[in-house]
Amino acid sequence: MSRQTILTAIRRGLKRGPLPADQMAMLRGRLTQHPRHLIPARSHLPHPEQVDLFTRNVEKEFGSVAHVPDMNAVPGAVTDYLAAQNLPGSVIMAPHPELQAIPWSVRPLLEIREGRAQGTDAVSVQHGFAGIAETGTLMLPSAPERPVTLNLLAETEIVVLRTSAIVGAYEEAWDRLRTELGAMPRNVMLITGPSRSADIEQTLELGAHGPRRLHIVLVEG
């Protein structure tokens, strides 16, 4: 009942009935074509410079980035980061084929479990779908192989991202998502740096409810 009341009231205010068929067709076309608006020039760059811009923006937002030449170098990069932060060598990892293919056994002291995160997990390793240079933002769509809790519950989140997954603007990441995943995933997180709050005296403090640290292992290729 409310549904019809609300729609009728909107139409009455707009001084019309339901839209005529041709206008509805036009709006449906707009939904299907989802035209872009102005995209700021800052990310219109050759790809290597987009990677640099992405890195600079992540660091500006209190995240950190380690560049490695290939996937074989990821276990070393993760182990080194954990040691430098004085964190335990036990991680919960997204069950993503690209992460599973990494030769983790070269670092036997690193304990890897796969699945979603629980409240007790200290470090998570997530698979990065895209990086957006414009603001140093990660795009992490949910999937069985990319659980959302890995982005939220651990104190430290490590994201493995390929440089080829870095794009300039958000719109390019949406297009990649539409092309590669088809339908909209249940959850898409755009993450820019680690959790923070400015609710106490309007002064920024890192480490609110989400991860206190966000580290990106950026893999060439």
Binding site: S2, I6, L7, A9, I10, G13, L14, L19, L27, R30, L31, H34, H37, L38, P40, A41, R42, N57, E61, G115, R116, G119, E134, T135, T137, A143, P144, P147, V148, T149, L152, L153, E171, W174, M184, P185, R186, N187, V188, M189, L190, I191, T192, G193, P194, S195, R196, S197, A198, D199, I200, E201, Q202, T203, E205, G207, A208, H209, G210, P211
Partner: protein, 477 residues
Amino acid sequence: MHIATSPAFKENAHQALSNAGLQKALARSGPSFIARRAAAVAGMPEFETLRDTARDIKNHALANLDFYLEAYEAKVLATGGKVHWCSTADDARQAVLAICQAAGARTVTKGKSMIGEEIAINDHLERHGITPVETDLGEYIIQLRHELPSHIIAPAFHLNMEDWEAAFRKAHTDLPADRTFTERRDVLNEARTKLRGKFLAADVGITGANFLIAETGSSVIVTNEGNGDLTQTLPRVHIVLASIEKCVPTLEDATSLLRVLARSATGQDFSVYTTFSTGARRPGDLDGPEEYHVVLIDNGRSAMFGTDFQEMLRCIRCAACMNHCPVYGAVGGHAYGWVYPGPMGSVLTPSLIGVDKAGHLPNASTFCGKCESVCPVRIPLPKLMRHWREREFERHLNPATVRAGMAFWGFFARRPALYRLATRAAAVGLGLFGRRKGRFGRMPLAGGWTSGRDLPAPEGDTFFARYAKAQRAGQVQ
């Protein structure tokens, strides 16, 4: 329902001006918001064009809102979610309670939601034996102190470190009494520890929505803490509270609005967590809610279509208007007496609770125009406040003295020659009387002005006379 104290705006404002803690908080936080927005805007050369785009997107969405809401609903249903259409706050409260009861909920975690404040959902759940837990840090302390937020993006804007310590010591009695709060970090860590268990134990999570997207059936939340994401990911049931005007057509439209939202609000280029939720947990997913409900709320908005106030529905709740408002900066948010303070509240509140209750709010403006100059969707806030003043006057809601004063001024204003003569006489007369000191410490009929400051004595001619002289000299057109 929160009892609106908007009718008592004048008394509220007086109390606010003599509230030392509030004045300390306002003096500290006001300028920093302004500086941070200015820096973010300076870093985005296309910002003014992005504001035009944002305005046009919202105008297009509103002009076709019936179509987009139906398209949105179809997508939510197709992705396994449910939409509950609610005309009134009462409908919305009942819908939320019914979902919680069907889920057998005992505790409910909540992300920050202004529409949740508007429908006073927490009180309603508590009355029915369900415990709501606010998880945004600012909302958490507001809940502990049984207050309303004083700002739409910084609920605890009015509080200082000593208030945080006092509230936490009072509420967290299980923690050692001799613990110290020397830094803000100590407060943050205690809240994190306390709330982590609540996140994990909650049966239902309630969030608001910054946008709804017709193309995909998604709801969007924007946070820095990650509390909204924990709220909507961990419990078995996710409820989204959203008002109808949040609906935009596509991901591209939402993206363009997001480009101006964080910059206008906190001065960030982008918030830490911008999350798009679409339906319930999918086959094979290891986490996420099993039920996804959208409680779609009108509560007075559809009646704003086709009126002077339709433009207000473009508002994306960034708070730039209140951050830049000299009145908000002097009295804070609580003086406004209801959910939405500052210039956007002065326009929206009379629409939602009636101009008879909230007529003081559009009068609490200097018409400096700063709010309109920073609004990311270019809402002409001063013009809309003026519309409310006209309606208040037409409906004879102002006190007799105000009406008499207006009539007195109106008599002269309609007779320009007489007006100039009278103002000239006043300027010359006051100039002569005040010549010695150059100011007046007291003035009949202007006690409200002179009790707080001196009235400068006129130093010569009227504006009209000087303007005419400048024109003759060819200095102005």
